[in-house]
Symmetry: D2
Subunit: 303 residues, 4 copies
């Protein structure tokens, strides 16, 4: 039923205008470029998309434009988590009027850990899940402590209407496996740690959503497919190189993304919105090129 | 110069209307009530005040009304930290046009730990600090890891314009002492953990800002003063009772505050904004009364 | 050169006599049984082997007997880490006089995190590494904070004499990958988290050392080989079942091991030494059988 | 009944001979010196005393000699926690034959967190508590997670025979207060973080046990008494200086203690046993002198 929800999806970067708003012309161009790279789906307005830093109106417009340019070519999931449940609910209702395939939400922002953890999140999730008929994909709750354990938390999630899967943004693969086996295959799982894309396949994930796929969709999609089909050697060799490149680029990730995308796809995604990327430095072009080429080479698409 | 910045300040609860907005009439009444309780100052729109859940316009109006009702009677500090630096800067500029005595800001919300920690926060803080001439009070950065340690972080803070003090919302008293001795007394420090109000005096704090002072201003102010003046026995006895009451009320803190304030001061601060307080249950009136009376009794104001 | 150091090795359980000492007759029988199960190597006297709870003399005797029964059939690695560096050095010298293929050591026990972390461990490791000519396999340092990062720590390790590889007892696969790529393939790496046996292959590990292989050597060896050779589906299906069985048995792991080994191999490894296993309950035989059979079935050795 | 169990006790450093054994002649001299400094009690063979690094026989002999030199002058508590419960029980029985006033034990070493935490510790503690008629003082369990919370853990402890108090080696003052109020004053509590000696008084502690009191008994005893009797200003000023000196000396704490004690009391406590103190550097005499004098001056014993 949800079998198009799989593969390698970029957590789409939102082109910005330098004044804290989206740059809608570049957005159209960027969505087209990603489609031409062969993305398996698009995940909008999460951490990478800086959704939390945009106004409600701008979030709605980014969803509308992306859905319109995409025109049903690939599945789209919209992150609607906000500071307040009310805004998340409004965004969920709005998404359901666009041509998108699912909504997702982070756990309550800021107040999360301070206020009894999973109970607050579950009710927040439930309000969002029932706001529309779209498939719902909550986040895992990171380091939250669950009064009845991770298995008990998953049990409760499974009872929610429209609950279809989860986006598991964690380096803890044991948690992913636990969610996988305790839901008995009923959930469509996406891993969120790019550095563990192939490892997470072994934990029962159907796909991967992450920021580096904005730059390396073609390579990561190819390697993941090859790996799933038995090329363990390529999976191993690629993941070690990919993780090293991630480690080198992470301290200045926002300028790396901007420069790498400009270089590779001639799209300007603009500067991140402060405070995000506050300390990022401009890279030497040669270094960006070297990092990008290292990943391309490791993917061995042409054998 | 800043010697009025001390003592026991409530992190003021903002009366809400049940639809995600402040209830301004109750706000006026509530500010008057707090003034009549003898607060040493007012801290607006922090976590307790649910500032992050309000629109920019509503935050400005809360500041304006509070400043107007207060009319200079006690010092006021406004928390202006927001998702984006730009909004924080606008709120800081606005605050400087009201009759308030300082601004404060939490570290970057949501993106904080993921993006290199202290560098991002320092630049965020600097933008806010320089947006007005008001004294600035950033938060400590909790569990952030500092490339050059907590002492190095304080050194950098001390170089910022308008840097006057900090609000230290942490249970880690060693961090408070470290900030105290490494700033050589140049910072006006407020502790944020109500449960350690007196203990924090021994770490060089000038005052305490916290949510429970909304209910127990009179008792906490009395005990803290007595303690500072040598009544260590009262400090010890009171803090043990106070911490126990906090531990009992914390799981349903928002309804406790609402009911206790209604009972004690006949002001309705209304419901918290979802997802905050999502799991809070209504208390039995008798239990609220018992908890309130336990603290009152422990303060031994009448000997 | 070290190409026999790979595959699936049990962190060998040491048969105990109920009075805090090894049961040497059962030990001989147990080593023979493990050899007949096809182990790729044996890892002695680590956490699973309760090495830390035995006297120095008993540790030496366990090494001697195991080496003698094995008679060079499979490689043996001896964990010599102790409370004091001196005892570890004596155990390393002793091991070098037995027919074993390597020594290993945990980081300093108890004092570890309190005393500057990696510096203390590096010197401890160096004393042990230079005590003999045997290949040396230190542990990773878990949650230790490294003044110059994990990469800097690996650089220092690589300069030690006899440094051949590491035993990486961590669920953090990013750390394993980091050690793998930063040592540029110069280290022979064994993963230690049984639940992530196949996932760790993708991080560049040569083998896996763990406690559950005492019970499931045949199944785990088969699945790991199949996976390395391209059977990603088996790897995925098996790991989910294996992790679930581990999660169910872990709360009473010591009695599970004892009863499962008795049931499957007719060897009595005896009770663990207090406080280890203090809270372990006796299992219903049927439950042990069900857990064991679940893993056997998932391995699909007969297709 | 236990009213002599209070005040400032050094976690006594054990003079060592450079070959991993105690230096018994210096031990006698050292105990005499500490008595002449006015210690309120002596805590033997804990982390500071390097009890875990000594043989069982040597631990017994240290207890015998200390008890003999002390001859009942001040109360003595012996830390008997070991790798195995059996050794701890033997040490407890031995202590009960010496003239000492209590036994104490750390939680299970090494295996602690891996094996279900509090259950294992409780049974370990119970075996030790019932091995003699001496008052028993277990440690708090640090970051252990308790299935029924810290309060539930304390409830279980209170049911143990000979349970008289606890040694709370934690910086988390909330935990200390929680143990204090939930035991309703039935436990004699000693705080273990030297940096929070006075702050911990406000959490209901009867005394403080720590390593720095080996060097600064006179100053810390004076300040703590003054503080308890109402001198909050001295408590505040002293604690800030004391914490700063601790922070400066901690990275090379073992050589600091050795040199400071040599300088101040002409006793050579010898080198720590590897791996403890592995990375400690020799201090410049002038720096040691400056640090020692800073604390002496801050205590203002002569006004």
């Amino acid at each position: 039923m949800y079998e198009n929800l799989k593969g390698v999806w970029p957590a789409m970067l939102t082109p910005m205008d330098g004044n804290g708003r989206p740059e809608f012309k570049q957005l159209e161009k960027w969505v087209e470029e990603l489609l031409s790279q062969g993305v398996d789906g698009l995940y909008l307005l999460g951490s990478t998309g800086q959704g939390f830093l945009l106004s409600e109106e701008d979030r709605k417009k980014v969803t509308e434009i992306t859905a319109s340019v995409n025109a049903g070519k690939v599945p789209i999931m919209v992150q609607v988590g906000s500071m307040t449940t009310q805004e998340s609910v409004r965004l969920a209702k709005h998404a359901s009027q666009c041509k998108v395939d699912g909504i997702s939400s982070v756990a309550p922002v800021y107040y999360g850990p301070a206020d009894g953890s999973s109970g607050m999140a579950l009710k927040h999730y439930e309000s969002i899940a029932t706001a529309s008929d779209l498939p719902f994909f909550p986040y895992q709750l990171g380091a939250a402590s669950f009064s009845d354990g991770l298995v008990g938390f998953v049990d409760k999630l499974l009872k929610m209407p429209n609950m279809v899967g989860m986006k598991l943004t964690t380096n803890n693969l044991l948690d992913i496996s636990t969610i996988s086996y305790s839901s008995k295959g009923k959930l469509v799982l996406f891993s969120g740690a790019d550095e563990l894309m192939c490892q997470a396949v072994l934990c029962g994930t159907n796909g991967a959503i992450g920021s580096y796929y904005n730059v390396f969709e073609r390579e990561c999609k190819y390697v993941r497919n090859e790996f799933v089909n038995g090329n363990v050697k390529l999976g191993t060799d690629f993941m070690l190189v990919f993780q090293e490149v991630i480690a080198e680029s992470l301290p200045n990730i926002w300028t790396f993304f901007r420069q790498a995308i400009q270089m590779r796809y001639s799209v300007d995604i603009g500067p991140s919105i402060a405070p995000v990327g506050n300390t990022n430095k401009v890279w030497e072009e040669k270094k960006v090129e070297e990092l990008v080429n290292r990943v391309i080479k490791a993917a061995k698409i042409d054998g």
